[in-house]
Each structure stands twice: as structure tokens, then as C-alpha cells.
Amino acid sequence: MLAPGFPVADVRDRARRGVEAILPRADGCEERAYGHAVFGEIAKTDADCVDGLDRARIVPPVLMPGRLEMLLELSREPAFSDVDLTSTVGGFKCALPVYVSAMGSTSVAQSALGFEMVEQAARAGLPLVLGENVRSMFGYERRAEPGLPSFKDRARAYLGCLEGNTGGLVVQQSTEDANAELWNEVYSDPDFHPLVQRGLLGFELKLGQGAKGATGGMTVIDRETAERVGAAFPMEHLDGMTWLRSSAPGTFTEDILRSQVRLMRNNFPGVRVWVKLPPGRDLRLAGDAAWGAGADAVVVDGACGGTGLTATVLLQHLGLPLDECLRRLEGHAGELLVSGRMWEGSRVVKALALGAGGVGLGRAAIVAAAEDAELGLVRLIEALAMEMRLLISACGKYRPDQLGRDDVWFGG
């Protein structure tokens, strides 16, 4: 599994070893090196990351009244394992404030997304966003390509592994999916009716995403696929056998956004409404419009986010980094979810401290599931949860929502 610019080796390591992998190893050591070697700051291996979130530090206070409160509650000194990560993300109960973001229809994502990743997401108690263009590319119920699961195959796989009332299925709708009426199809489908009744269904309106801004999705497809989906998408011939399929991003103004959110609330009672924004300069205005119209959560994908294909120039030069997105949304009124390059505890905890209510895993979930189809994502989540508990308790706090901006230091 390749994901240039993403710390694939680290994610694969966690997918194999789980919690064990959060402890450092000395170069050349196969075994755990903790206790056998000395470590300073681990150098960043990925110089491409544009945002300051990774460069920021989590800086706990020395004096911790919050820890005293926990001490009184427990009648003993609290430990990191006392951190309660259970949360509500975008209206769904989850084991920790993490969900799995929508993946593109790019084949690299689909190879792992098919069943393994969605099943593991369900077992880990994480909400799952299903999109983009899965319905258009792979069919709603009947498979458009025999080897690749349809939209409903994926939903069934996820729901089949969901335990209790944790998790939730969020269906993303892009412009092409709107033509196919994906939300209406799901909402009127008897198979999804129990989900509505249990409050486990959400719809995500997508305005754009991290790496691509609001330019619409792209994927490279072969001739056979191009012939099948050609009428639904703008298509560019690349060479003899391959085509570039693009999605129309959709036009939004403040009024259009507000009206669409209201229409979602009007048309789909009982369904959670998420709105996904690209890292644009006016995301505060857009976020306030979405929250004001009644969105349960606004999702902001930082410039580092994205799983699908797009032009290099967009990857390198488009959009605000996630730390700046969080800065511009400081003091926001509604629930904020963020995504983009999330895979380990420090970035997640910093995002939560800076105002996010939950974070989305994209590439990390794919890489982990591809590494181990049975337990890769589950182990990645276990490692992430352990790191989150360590970092949150280090700040003298015992729930993610107790984190605050004071816990993060950007330097200078």
C-alpha cells in the first residue's frame, strides 16, 4: 500500500503490533527498545507536512486542580487508564472521539475499503462515513463491478459488525450522488429504516475536502469503467487505456448552504446532518451558516487531508493547514470535527484541545486495514487510544472534552 507523503511505515507498524508500537525502538532493534536505550525528541521524518499542528507541542501545567478532582472521586492517585474516551461524535456514541472519513472511489482506497475496513471500524465502535461516489461507481445494491462491493454491501458489512448503539453510518452525497438521489434512496430503503429508528444514520453534505479544496473528486479509471460511468462524469482521456474521471464540485453560497442544510433537516427527520468543508479562507462564515441552519456537525478537512487522486499542484498549494482552520474557527458555536493526516495521539489530542469534538481517520484507516485485514485498524485504534489517554492525563484531564487551547503551545 503506497501513500506518498504519509507515514505509512509507522501506520503499518501499528497495524501489526498495536499498542506495542507506540513505544519507541532504537534504529536497527527489532525488539522494543524502551528501557534499553535513551531517546530524545523523535525527529520528524515527513518534511512535506504543511501544517503547524505537528510542530506544536502539548504542554501540561504543573499544578493540576483537575487531577485533584479525579483523586477525590477515585480515592487514589489517578492513572492514564482512568481517562474516559467515550464520546459523542456528530450525534453518535463512540468508544473514542474518532470516526472513519469517507474514502474516494480511487481503487487504492477501494481495495481495503471493501469489507475489511468497514467491519473493523464497526468493531472499534467508530462512526463510518460512506462516500464519495461509491454509489455512482460501484452501484447501490447490485454490483457495477463483480469484484467490488456495492454501496449497500459496504453498509451491510459495517452494520453487521456494529455492537450496541455505538457507531453510526454517515452517507456522504456529492453532486453526482444527488442526481442519483442517494439520500432519498437510503432514507426510503426498508433495510435502513431500523437505523433511522435507532438514531444511527447520518447524511454528510460535502462542499469539498482537504487536498482538493472545492475542486471535486478525481480518479483514474480504465476504458471499461469509463464507458460504464461516462455519462455521469466529466471525462478526460489520458492515454490509450486510461481516463481521468472528475466530479463536479457543486456551487455554494451562504444562502445555498443554509438552504441545503435546512432541506436535509426537513426531508430526513431522525437523521444526523454533517457538513464537510474544504479548508477555505472563509470557513468560519461557511461553518456558522451550516451550524446556524441546524447541522449537527461541521467537518473541516485540513489541507493535509485526502485519500483520492488530485493534481500535485493542488496537493502542494491549495487550502489552509489544519492548525489555521482551527484558529479561524476559535469560539465556534456548534460541534466541529476535523480530519487530515490523523493517525497518532498527539495530532488528535492537539486538534481536540484546539476546539474539535472529534477527528476523522482517512489514509491511516486504509493503510492499517490493508496491513492486516482482520485487526489492522482495530490495533491502530488501540494504539491511538492509549496515546490519547497518556497525553490527556498528562494534562491533568480525564475526558477529551476537558482539553483546552492552553494545553497546546505553538512556540515563539
Binding site: 453532486t175 426510503s188 426498508p190 455519462a231 435546512r262
Partner: protein, 339 residues
């Protein structure tokens, strides 16, 4: 996944899937009650046609399929049809065609069959069917108040005719039908919402009136009444937004008394190209698929008002039934596989 049809437990509840009630139309159609109901329905349609023709309306035949249809259908799915290798849809309503049909005559109507794959919850409202018929009316006008007056006259004409022509049927059905008093009350949506919120009901200001709330309002009412001026975001793109009051739609519902609820929806229409495209985006629609309609709008379509009146809902009211599936032959209850 389960195929649950959990019931509300009242008389409107559809019979079990395995029940012979609806899967054997040869049996239920032969009952005296159904015969009386269908005669009332026939007379209601006759009266509606007479009333509209006298008012200068011309009846057109309804389209059944098209490249696009009405997207303003709360949470329900359109039915796709493969049409010579292209995706067409069964009509959910003929609204787009009605507007363009005004090029033929300034006043038109259709008796139009529609199909909407409604969410399962609607199986228990007593007033939703996946297949139903609308009396679809449209006329050139710039005031939705004209449509209210027309609708008042139409309903009164229908009730008077049915009372005259179906005395025996109404008696057999135990229905004492009263001619509504004109003018019907005209309430503003925002006022209705405020009233509901004052008594602790969970009605959102930016949404359509919820089905249970609307039924409660209908039960309290002694006469039909209009709820006017819905907020933008609660209706299809074609309901005209008041240029002087952004966010307010110049539209309405007609609500019948006695718990029968909404029987007709209508309003002034958007007809200018740029406004239509913008409103389409506000409802999440891609203007590209509305090519023929937008081309017509570029060339110019008339300012108009209109409404769709549900024939099964009207019949339900006329005969005093508690569910629409009891008043038509071959009903399709949402989620149920019926002949």
C-alpha cells in the same frame, strides 16, 4: 438487516403483509363499502373537472415519464426507468410540465398519476401512498391568493356535488358531510410554528409542519384552513421566494378538518432562469439534468400559480375514512409489496 414495519398501533395501521386484506383485491373491491367509496371518488373527480372547466381551465393528459421530475418530495425516492439507454424517471409530480404547458393555455389541469417511494414511516400517517393521483392545476397569475380562492371554490363545488349525487353512498358509509364555509382561514407558517412551540410541541421553524402536529391542528379545526408562506428550505425549488422577504416562500398547504390533514400544496412559481438555477442549487440539485426545462425558462415561461390536490386524500375526507389505502383500488402502501 431486518425488514421491519413496526406499527403505530392505531386503526390507520396497514394490515400485516401476510394479510389477505390488500393482497386479494378481487375480495376487497367487491365489498359494499369499497363500491360506495369508489363511486364517491368518481363523482368527486367529475365535480372537479366540471368546476375547473367552468372556470376556463383546459384538461391536458399527464406525462408519465421524463428525464427529470419533481425533486421536492420530502425524503422519498424517485423511480428510475431505463429509456432507450438513458435514465428517465416516473413522475413524482408534473410541476415542471405544468409550468411549460401554460404556453398552450393560460389555465390548465391534469389528473396525474404519481409514484414516490416514500420512507417507511409514512406507512402510518394514514395519508401516504407510494402511488397516488393528483389533480394538478396551474394558471397564469402573480398572486398565490388567486390559487387560494380557486381552491376554496373547487373544494366547495366538489363537496356540494358529492352531497347531491352520492346521498345513498354517504349514508351507507355513515358519513355526514358538511359543505365548508368560505373563506377558509389563512394562517402564516411562522404563526402556526409559534403556536405549536407555545404548547410545547417540537416543531422547527425552518421545516414543514410535522405530520403528527399537522394532524393535531387538523383535529382541532372545524373548517378547512390554509397554512401559508413556508420557509425556504422546506419545499422544492419551484415555490417562489418572496423578492421582498428573502427566505419566505409564496406558497401554501390546504389542511382539511377532522384529522384529515393536508390535501393540497401549491404556490406561486419561480419562472426566471437565474432564480431557478440558484434555487435548484439551494435544494442540492444539479441544474445540468434540467436541460429542457431551463432552456424553456431561458426562452421565457409565464409567471404562474398552481397546486396539486391529492385525490385519495380528498376521497378519504369525503367518505370519512381514516387511511388513504382504504379509499382506492390497488393501493401501494409504502414499503409493502402489493398488487
Amino acid at each position: 438487516m431486518e425488514h421491519a414495519v413496526a406499527g403505530a398501533g392505531d386503526r390507520r395501521r396497514p394490515p400485516d403483509r401476510s394479510s389477505a386484506d390488500l393482497t386479494t383485491p378481487d375480495v376487497y373491491l367487491a365489498t359494499a363499502q369499497m363500491r360506495a367509496t369508489l363511486r364517491v371518488q368518481q363523482e368527486a373527480l367529475h365535480a372537479a373537472r366540471e368546476s375547473l372547466r367552468e372556470a376556463g381551465f383546459v384538461e391536458l393528459l399527464p406525462p408519465l415519464i421524463g428525464p427529470v421530475t419533481d425533486p421536492g418530495i420530502r425524503g422519498s425516492k424517485q423511480v428510475d426507468v431505463r429509456y432507450y439507454g438513458h435514465d428517465y424517471r416516473l413522475m413524482t409530480s408534473a410541476i415542471l410540465y405544468k409550468q411549460v404547458a401554460l404556453h398552450a393555455f393560460p389555465k390548465i389541469f391534469l389528473v396525474a398519476p404519481n409514484v414516490r417511494l416514500e420512507p417507511l414511516d409514512t406507512a402510518y400517517t394514514g395519508r401516504h401512498l407510494a402511488e397516488f393521483v393528483q389533480l394538478d392545476v396551474e394558471f397564469a397569475s402573480t398572486r398565490y391568493a388567486d390559487a387560494l380562492t380557486l381552491l376554496e371554490d373547487l373544494l366547495v363545488d366538489i363537496v356540494e356535488h358529492v352531497k347531491r349525487s352520492c346521498t345513498q353512498e354517504l349514508a351507507d358509509l355513515g358519513r355526514e358531510l358538511r359543505v365548508p364555509q368560505r373563506p377558509f382561514a389563512r394562517e402564516i407558517h411562522a404563526d402556526v410554528v409559534a403556536r405549536l412551540q407555545r404548547i410545547g410541541r417540537s416543531q422547527e421553524g425552518s421545516a414543514e409542519i410535522r405530520w403528527d402536529e399537522e394532524e393535531a391542528l387538523s383535529r382541532e379545526a372545524g373548517e378547512p384552513f390554509f397554512i401559508c408562506e413556508y420557509p425556504k428550505g422546506s419545499r422544492g425549488f419551484y415555490d417562489r421566494e418572496d423578492p421582498a422577504r428573502p427566505g419566505v416562500l409564496l406558497d401554501f398547504d390546504l389542511v382539511l378538518p377532522g384529522g384529515h390533514g393536508e390535501v393540497a400544496s401549491g404556490g406561486e412559481r419561480e419562472y426566471e432562469y437565474a432564480r431557478l438555477v440558484t434555487r435548484m442549487r439551494e435544494t442540492g440539485e444539479d441544474p445540468a439534468k434540467y436541460g429542457w426545462y431551463l432552456d424553456a425558462a431561458r426562452r421565457g415561461i409565464r409567471a404562474s400559480c398552481g397546486f396539486g390536490l391529492g385525490i385519495e386524500r380528498l376521497t378519504r375526507y369525503l367518505v370519512g375514512a381514516d387511511a388513504v389505502w382504504k379509499v382506492r383500488a390497488f393501493p401501494k402502501i409504502p414499503g409493502m409489496l402489493l398488487p
